[in-house]
Symmetry: C2
Subunit: 205 residues, 2 copies
């Protein structure tokens, strides 16, 4: 940027890093690339091309950024759970709706979910995120149990195992799903996943 650039030019060039959203996006990318422990505010400042002081204008530091990033994934999950719970429908329908909701969160907030799934609980912020994650898992397990009591979910699989398989199936998408990587017109990923998990791959005759 030359000294002659006007304020208007600066804005049009859209130099990133001047709002909290841009800082958070860059932070989650840096955390995923280097690992949270290995990432520094210096790395983030280089990525954004702005001074560290400009970052501290928005947040108190690395840990606050981690908390915000993890909450973005977790809030998405819990919002999906609330939407599913609000349905006046049997548990099996609410369960499938919840699974579809978590796929949607993964598709729209992939870096945040990726970061969350790597958390191992080394800091208070990470432990708080793990606690929320466990609450969410329990919520899924309770829905599976309810659907099993209704006779809608097969009883030969332990509800806790079922809940883990469902979450594992959704979370495994982070290994290969990339936004924009699927051919145009592909059926929604949530359809493929729910067809597999709820109705099974085998054709019935």
């Amino acid at each position: 940027m030359t000294a002659a650039a006007t304020e208007g030019e600066r804005r049009r060039r859209g130099r990133p890093g001047y709002d909290l959203e841009a800082v958070l996006q860059a932070a989650v990318a840096v955390f995923n690339e280097r690992g949270y422990d290995g990432a520094s505010m210096e790395d983030l400042s280089k990525r954004l091309g702005i001074a560290k002081s400009a970052i501290y204008h928005h947040v108190s530091g690395k840990e606050e950024l981690l908390r915000m990033a993890l909450d973005r994934a977790l809030d998405g999950w819990f919002e999906a759970a609330e939407r599913a719970a609000s349905l006046d429908a049997p548990a099996i329908v609410r369960l499938e709706e919840l699974i579809r909701g978590t796929v949607a969160v993964l598709e729209t907030r992939l870096p945040y979910v990726t970061l969350l799934l790597r958390v191992r609980g080394n800091t208070p912020v990470e432990r708080a995120a793990l606690d929320r994650r466990r609450s969410f898992d329990r919520l899924v397990a309770r829905l599976v149990e309810e659907a099993e009591r209704d006779g809608d979910v097969r009883a030969d699989v332990d509800p806790k195992v079922t809940a883990r398989l469902l979450s594992g199936l959704v979370n495994s998408l982070t290994e290969w799903y990339r936004p924009g990587s699927r051919p145009a017109g592909s059926p929604p990923l949530a359809d493929a996943l729910c067809a597999t998990a709820f109705d099974g791959l085998r054709v019935r005759r």
Copy 2:
């Protein structure tokens, strides 16, 4: 160990680290804990309580240990693929047999599979492992395609997506399965997984 300890006592105390198998087991544990890049032969020597020279008696170094560890998982997968391929049965049966085989590999070689799933391709050994992993994924995808041509697998899910969902489901077990952690008498994990993936969770009426 006191100077007075006899050779017999030494053997009974079973001090680890004296055969290649023990070195490899310790190496995969150290790699999983610290990450391959962060792990040193010094860490391994401390873990085993033996001198580095005793380790170099068995292997040329860290990279050879990585190759051996990754091959232990990959060899297991390909052995399972060979067993499945040798069955005189429709593709859907061979596919389910292969999936059961990969679950068994995960159950019996968990640390090796965990290490393999974390490989990102930073070294020639890692890239070779990724190549073998991709060959294996293609093999699963071809079996799914064959089963779909037979009319045995639902056609509304892209075979490549199906193959990825199946692998993702199996691999997600590394997140929570621990040997010995399931209550005695629990049905085999492979049964729960195959019931879910092949027949679906939903009870049919």
